[in-house]
């Protein structure tokens, strides 16, 4: 399934920047960055449970927020890209 993860991490006080980096890192491990704080993540339910726990362990609920958009398994018809930096299709042929 595809999950869209977006986040807001407050970086004003100490440790904010570190949390931001760690959240980005966790998302990067599982998916692809499509915009600055937006990730498309294709995972199975077990992998998603792991990532979700990891993300929620990093953030400070009083200041930061995470939003998950569940796009299901048939997500290809539900996503459209316009403009610069199109995402790579990780299920398509990967030839470098």
């Amino acid at each position: 399934m595809l999950v869209l993860v977006t986040y807001d991490v407050r970086t004003l006080e100490d440790g904010g920047k570190r949390r931001l980096r760690r959240v980005a890192r966790a998302c990067e491990d599982y998916g692809q960055r499509v915009q600055f704080s937006v990730f498309e993540i294709e995972v199975d339910p077990a992998q998603w449970a792991k990532l979700k726990a990891r993300l929620e362990g990093i953030i400070e609920p009083a200041h930061d927020s995470l939003r998950y958009y569940y796009l299901g398994a048939n997500w290809t018809r539900r996503v459209e890209h316009v403009g610069a930096k199109p995402a790579t299709d990780l299920n398509g042929p990967l030839i470098i």
């Binding site: 990067e28 995972v43 030839i95």
Partner: protein, 344 residues
């Protein structure tokens, strides 16, 4: 059902593959060309001088992602694999059965001959009307003979060697008619006979390349379900030969590789200019043509077909894996016979 995981093919000379967190990152001249999370990958295939970092090799071994190293023209060189997976009891069963494997060999040979025949029938159905009468008759005759061979294999208690003979007979019939299946007007793109190591004409070069890709997938499938790829039933054991992977591949050669080769040539996606001749007579795909074939191969693997035994839709690319699983189930005694995969 298992998800069809992707394969990364690296053909750019001097590219470097690295691990970054849980990602494979491919760099060409210092610039990042691709970043793929490892959980979406089943294997990495590198052509020629490609740099692979030790950290990436380590994590691939740990995750069961196989790395295959081919030389620039696509010949197999080496393979990096993690610890042997699977169950020792399954392997023991495989070794025991390997000495008396008539039933499995019968299934494999039947699958192979039926699928070769299906490729011929398919061409007759689609283009039979436009073929010269002689070609059509030759193909019809070959198809009838193959049907007889199929019945013979199915009904008699043939020994493994006799079935190997039947398989060879069917292969001769199939390749004797192969030229009639090629519709490209290019004079160079004709078929005379199978040649390999090295392939001596463009069609053979294309077939050899596709067979290498298919062997890789079949071998990975054996490893993934815990079978020993070196101990085959139809193919005799020989040091260094992935006999079981080759067994598994027999049913799939015609529908997956041969059909794709014919489509690429008949749709004129590949022409005589896409091949070059080396000194000594070997014929190879050019770099651009190889990329085109790899793309077509990956696309083909995503096409879905009904699996005749499981009665479930599965992408072509999963078929080697499903067949390996079926074989494992049969060896464990869960199903009575190994059901071949019939293409229709």
């Amino acid at each position: 059902m298992k998800k069809l995981l992707n394969t990364v093919y690296v053909t750019t000379e001097g590219a470097a593959l690295k691990k970054d967190g849980e990602n494979l990152v491919a760099e060409v001249e210092g610039a990042e060309k691709a970043r793929v999370p490892l959980h979406m990958l089943a294997s990495v295939v590198a052509f020629g001088p490609i740099l692979i970092s030790p950290a990436l090799i380590g994590i691939c071994a740990e995750r069961g992602i196989t790395i295959a190293l081919l030389d620039r023209i696509g010949r197999f060189q080496a393979r990096i694999e993690g610890p042997v997976s699977g169950n020792v009891l399954l392997r023991r069963a495989q070794y025991r059965v390997a000495d008396a494997a008539e039933d499995i060999v019968r299934s494999i040979v039947m699958g192979k001959v039926a699928n070769q025949r299906a490729v011929i029938r398919r061409s007759l159905r689609d283009y039979g009307g436009e073929m010269p009468a002689a070609a059509r008759e030759a193909l019809e005759a070959a198809s009838d003979r193959m049907a007889m061979i199929l019945r013979r294999v199915q009904l008699t208690d043939a020994t493994v060697d006799e079935m190997r003979g039947s398989e060879g007979e069917a292969a001769n019939l199939y390749f004797a008619g192969f030229d009639h299946l090629i519709r490209s007007p290019d004079a160079e793109l004709r078929w005379t006979q199978r040649s390999r190591r090295p392939p001596l004409d463009p069609i053979n070069a294309l077939l050899s390349f596709l067979y290498t890709l298919l062997t890789h997938d079949c071998r990975s499938a054996c490893e993934a379900v815990g079978l020993d790829p070196a101990v085959g039933f139809l193919h005799r054991d020989r040091p260094g030969r992935p006999s079981l992977a080759l067994d598994l591949m027999e049913e799939l050669r015609a529908p997956l590789a041969d059909r794709l080769a014919l489509s690429l040539v008949n749709r004129r996606q590949l022409r005589a200019a896409d091949f070059r001749q080396m000194e000594g007579g070997a014929v190879l795909l050019t770099d651009d043509a190889r990329k085109l074939v790899l793309t077509a191969w990956q696309e083909r693997k995503k096409e879905e077909r009904l699996h005749p035994f499981l009665a479930e839709k599965a992408p072509f690319g999963l078929v080697p894996y499903l067949q390996a699983q079926m074989l494992a189930r049969h060896l464990r005694g869960d199903i009575d016979a190994y059901p071949p995969w019939f293409w229709s």
